[in-house]
Amino acid sequence: MKELLIAFLSKTLNLDTESVAELLYKKSDEGKLTEEVNPEALAGLLAKDAERVAAIKPNTKEFFDNGFKKAQKEISEEWEAKLRENFGITNVEAKGDKLIKLAKTAAAADTPLEADKVKVHPLYLSLEAEAAQKLADKEKEFNDKLAEREAAQIREKLISTNKERGRKLLASLNPILPQKQEIADNQINDFLTKLEGFDYEGEGDDPIIVKDGKRLENEHGHPVRLSQKVKELAGANFEFAVQTEKGNAGNGGDGSAGKTGNGVKVPATEEEYNDLFFSASTMEERESITSAWAAKNGAE
């Protein structure tokens, strides 16, 4: 029995038999093992057993930590692979937070926004209103410019038309012009530029003159027309030739069948002015004669 016990304890405590025997039996004074059981044998054996267990049991915290880390790594790698696969991330170096960021970006690109929700978002509403206002402002600006341009074109055309009318009216007054054609043309063109400062109103060949938005009126409050204005301006800028009385097949006036008008004469005296004026059969003739008389007196 003693040998069995020692053998068992030796095996289990991983001690040699002598060490076991020393634990079990007292030693003599000579140091020899006796047959007497050591009263401390149990304590000694338990201590040795504790030693044995400690030698077997590793550092569990480190073991745990190592195992956890390993597991964590494996799990992470597994999820990272899934993330890459699902979000089409090809960058294999991207890991952890970087990989998550990439996945988020990919996810945001893929995920369709719900339109109805976007449309009521304050930022959307604000941007929409701003865009609409900008569009309206641009449209108004364009329309204003277009209207301005159209009005300018119409005015330009009216002025051009009425300058031509003015040219004909001036010619009918028979102004005395320089012999040289170029100088005569320049004088007439300079005169016609005076008509550019007016606007013109009304249908027909003799429109009403408008200045600064108001129609020009004579001392009677009657509107001034182009023909009157041309005559007024011409009287201050030209001397005039006078046409003699035109004939009419139905009127023998003073004994002639009808004179053709081809005279070039400004009344020299008031008596001559009266003769010509009262012999004139039309308003235009009277005005021409009066303009010539006024021009002559204005020049003296």
Partner: protein, 338 residues
């Protein structure tokens, strides 16, 4: 005349004011005369009228009519015999038998205290007198036409000839009536015919003008334009009432003549206390009125008076190739009297 008289300068200013009123469309409507018939006759007149200024006292004007009716055929003559009458204007002398006058007065005080001055009052008076005289002349013109009308030589057309009238049923006054008019003109030897009408053809012409853009309207427009037309909606129908009349006329069938005894510019006659001058008609180009101005003491004021007188005559071309064919035919809308 002394200071205070309405001088030549005043009269000039009054006429200038009248001109300015005439240019005002609103005012012109009040003073513009309805004289379309006179304007038409003037446009179609080709006679040369000369006022007599020689010793002849019993006539006023010489009218030179173009006469092409002296030409007649004869048997053939040898090559070298070429002696024919001269084609010349036929001269006829006339006494002017139409004379009418109109006038107005203005008190000195009225011209002084009124808001508008004397010259403006006179200007309005001149315009009014011109209107009255010219409209009288237009009525005279229609009355004279009535005395000139001849007999229609075409008796088998759509019109029924009764004396100097040709009655055309109302339903026939369509664009195709111009075919009839052309035929009448030809048969009556109107070399250059035109129409002078009251309201008869007016609406037809108006519609044709606006319908000409349509496919169907072009024909009607062309028909109406095949002959010159003049309208006087006031005078022709008024004088001929109740008849609705269109005159078919030959150019040059009528001549009008006027004569003035006053010089144009104002001339004072102190002994007679009047001023004579001439004033041009507003509505009839080339027509002048002999104008007389006087002023007299009237109660406690001075009365200024102006008188305007028109003297003239309206004559029918006497050189019609056939007796009774005077170049004027009277077309009446309606059925011939039974």
């Amino acid at each position: 005349m002394a200071a205070g008289d309405f001088t030549a300068s005043n009269m000039r200013d009054a006429l200038i004011k009248a001109d300015n009123m005439w240019k005002d469309d609103m005012l012109k409507v009040e003073y513009e005369a309805d004289v379309d018939v006179v304007k038409a006759l003037m446009a179609e007149q080709n006679a040369d009228v000369r006022v007599i200024s020689d010793d002849r006292k019993d006539v006023d004007v010489d009218v030179f009519w173009v006469d092409a009716c002296g030409i007649t055929t004869q048997d053939c003559t040898p090559l070298c015999e070429n002696d024919f009458d001269l084609l010349e204007s036929k001269k006829k002398s006339y006494t002017l038998d139409l004379c009418q006058e109109v006038g107005f007065s203005v008190m000195e005080e009225q011209g002084r205290t009124n808001l508008i001055d004397m010259e403006e009052i006179v200007a309005k008076g001149i315009l009014m007198c011109s209107k009255e005289l010219d409209e009288w002349w237009a009525q005279m013109a229609v009355a004279k036409l009535e005395t000139f009308v001849g007999v229609n030589a075409l008796t088998n057309g759509r019109g029924t000839v009764v004396g100097t009238d040709t009655f055309i049923p109302d339903a026939s006054w369509t664009p195709s009536i111009f075919a009839y008019f052309a035929r009448v003109a030809k048969m009556n030897k109107f070399k250059n015919p035109y129409l002078l009408s009251g309201a008869n053809l007016y609406e037809l012409a108006w519609e044709a003008e606006y319908d000409r853009a349509n496919g169907e309207g072009k024909g009607a427009d062309a028909k109406l334009k095949s002959m010159r037309k003049y309208f006087d909606l006031l005078n022709i129908d008024t004088v001929n009432d109740p008849d609705m009349v269109t005159y078919l006329m030959n150019r040059g069938a009528v001549a009008m003549a006027f004569k003035n005894k006053h010089a144009a510019a104002p001339k004072e006659f102190n002994g007679a206390a009047l001023t004579k001058s001439r004033t041009a008609s507003r509505n009839l180009p080339g027509v002048f009125y002999d104008t007389t101005y006087t002023n007299v003491c009237d109660g406690d004021d001075i009365k200024h008076t102006w008188k305007f007188k028109v003297r003239g005559g309206i004559f029918n071309n006497p050189t019609g190739c056939t007796t009774g064919r005077n170049g004027i035919l009277r077309m009446v809308a309606g059925d011939a009297p039974v």
